[in-house]
């Protein structure tokens, strides 16, 4: 077990280092002198000289990377040009919205995807299965922003039941009631992801139901419901649960479009705004934070999967 943990963590670390080199290179790959990329076009020559030296941009590139990585490890991701504030605090401001949106979306994904996927699998081949699978494929083929715009039209503009945009923090005024601002965005974001989990649950249940031990259980005369509950479901859900972590991590970046449609003050919208504002340090910081999150969640999922199912081997 421990050698598995070490190997897996080591591989993640190597990937992270390689990814961080790419993310570091981002500032240098963007068209223009990196110093103006970092300071904005309005920087004065004195500022340029000062910062060039302070950030070590006159040093060899390898040294620059090490300095940048060292600072990133201590949480210093540089300064935002637009906000004139540390990048980390700018990102932290969007974290509440993004994490809440992803969490609520996950709740929908699990509540919709898993049970419906189970029903489809248990009625494999029937019209119920074909209809549900068809709907799932349709949901996976719909652009989220398009659904979001029509949800706004129906539930905000026409019916007036829910707010159409924005999200005031639950920690300031309004309390948990503010979660209603996230209802439409989370449903929008959940649709394609619930479809994917539905398909995965169905496929996983069908896979497991072909296993020898399921046939043995049936042959022993265990009631069909018991077979499904104790033998198929438990094993099938293992694969599904491991997909949850990955889905959650993916949601943070998939929310880019949804947050833009609903004008939510999250990290996703911040990416788009920063691209339009040419606020490159913020873009770089967000990419780094999300990649770290992505890799960390994947590592945790892999390790817990191994803990739950010792048959898993390192590939």
């Amino acid at each position: 077990m421990w050698s598995f943990v070490l190997k897996r963590a080591g591989a993640t670390f190597v990937t992270l280092v390689a990814a961080s080199v790419l993310i570091f290179a981002f500032i240098h790959l963007v068209p223009g002198d990196p110093i103006y990329v970092l300071l904005g076009d309005t920087a004065t020559p004195e500022q340029v000289d000062l910062v060039r030296h302070k950030l070590g941009l006159d040093e060899p590139i390898v040294l620059q990377y090490l300095q940048w990585a060292g600072k990133a490890l201590t949480g210093d991701l540089g300064q935002s040009i637009f906000f004139q504030a540390p990048v980390l605090s700018v990102i932290a401001d969007g974290a509440e919205t993004s994490l809440l949106l992803a969490t609520i979306t996950m709740v929908w994904v699990v509540l919709i995807g898993v049970p419906i996927g189970m029903v489809a699998a248990m009625r494999q081949g029937s019209w119920v299965d074909q209809t549900l699978s068809g709907i799932a494929m349709l949901m996976a083929s719909v652009p989220t922003f398009w659904v979001g715009l029509y949800l706004i039209l129906i539930f905000a503009a026409w019916l007036g039941w829910l707010p159409s945009s924005g999200y005031p923090s639950i920690f300031e005024s309004g309390g948990l009631g503010n979660l209603r601002y996230l209802l439409l965005p989370s449903l929008t974001l959940a649709a394609p992801n619930a479809a994917l989990i539905l398909r995965l649950t169905r496929a996983s249940m069908l896979d497991v139901s072909r296993e020898d031990y399921v046939r043995t259980a049936r042959a022993k005369g265990i009631r069909p419901r018991q077979v499904v509950r104790r033998h198929i479901l438990r094993n099938a859900l293992l694969a599904v649960v491991s997909a949850f972590g990955f889905t959650f991590a993916a949601l943070i970046s998939e929310a880019v479009v949804t947050e833009t449609v609903f004008a939510l003050p999250g990290i996703g919208r911040l990416v788009v705004q920063s691209i339009l504002r040419r606020d490159y340090p913020v873009i770089q910081g967000i990419i780094l934070v999300i990649v770290v999150l992505y890799l960390a969640i994947n590592l945790i999922v892999d390790l817990s999967y191994r803990l739950l199912d010792p048959r898993v081997e390192l590939e």
Partner: protein, 288 residues
């Protein structure tokens, strides 16, 4: 084409009316893109402020937009962009992913390093990777194709790699090698022909998801330049008019759905005809 060959091509779709429907929509889209100038009742760029935001009527079946441009004509012309994005992204993914995947499987020492590099690209969420590349490369249609193509390069490489590893272990490949066949011969004669069917499945799915990614980029204003008609651009432009003219967003959005849906159906139908050992590679096919 002989009748037998036609039959074998259509075989995955026969007896599956819904897959046949997907194929029909796809063919319709290709025809619309080719004959756009003949099919469109109006010039897609012709402005007529007097009839702006008119609902669907006899003269303008899909209504007109905020500049009085005919929505039907714009929807038809936009299929060119959709086809270009789809073909472009699939070509990019295949032309990069297949050589890297085959090479890595045949030459494990360097191949291992290459596959680790693909893993690194995989650690970037799909949309974020595409956005980052757009920032570096600049905004244009070609760069949108490269940015989205890079996202699907990873999955294509992995699938090719996995398939080639399996094929390499097949008895007939071993037999060919033991009789002195060179690596190049093995690739051309045994590996590539066997990759065609699974890569066709992969191409269908990549085409489908490329449509959604491109629509997202266009919607964010970071994809095709706004003067080029595309379904995503149409949605981005008419977004603010949704309460006044809800039908405006319906048709372009529906086209994106139909295109992605039909390609997913085609991909599913093709996959079900694959060698069962290859099918599992497409279990979680969406790159995120």
């Amino acid at each position: 084409m002989t009748r037998d060959r036609l039959h074998s091509w259509l075989a995955p779709f026969l007896g599956r009316p819904i897959a046949l429907l997907g194929l029909a929509i796809l063919v319709g889209m290709i025809l619309a893109a080719i004959f756009a100038s003949v099919l469109s009742p109006y010039d897609p760029r012709a402005i007529d402020p007097i009839i702006r935001l008119s609902p669907p009527n006899a003269a303008h079946w899909f209504g007109t937009d905020q500049f009085g441009r005919d929505t039907l004509s714009r929807v038809i012309y936009s299929s060119r962009m959709a086809l270009l994005i789809g073909v472009g992204v699939v070509s990019f993914a295949l032309l990069t992913g297949v050589p890297i995947g085959v090479f890595s499987a045949l030459f494990p020492r360097l191949g291992h390093v290459l596959m680790r590099m693909v893993d690194v690209l995989m650690s970037f969420p799909a949309l974020l990777l595409a956005l980052g590349l757009i920032v570096v490369l600049g905004q244009s249609v070609a760069n949108a194709i490269i940015a989205i193509g890079a996202v699907y390069l990873t999955t294509t490489t992995r699938i090719t790699y996995g398939l080639t590893l399996r094929l390499r272990a097949e008895t007939y490949v071993e037999a060919a090698r033991s009789m002195g066949s060179g690596t190049a011969w093995v690739v051309v004669k045994h590996v590539l022909p066997n990759l065609i069917s699974p890569l066709l499945v992969q191409a269908s799915f990549v085409f489908a998801f490329a449509q959604l990614s491109a629509a997202s980029l266009d919607f964010l204003g970071l994809g095709a330049p706004p003067d080029i008609p595309s379904w995503g651009n149409m949605l981005a432009e008419s977004r603010t008019f949704i309460t006044r003219a809800p039908w405006l967003l319906f048709f372009p959005g529906m086209m994106i759905v139909l295109t992605a849906f039909s390609l997913n159906l085609v991909g599913d139908a093709l996959r079900d005809r694959l060698d069962p050992r290859f099918q599992e590679m497409f279990a979680s096919r969406r790159r995120r």
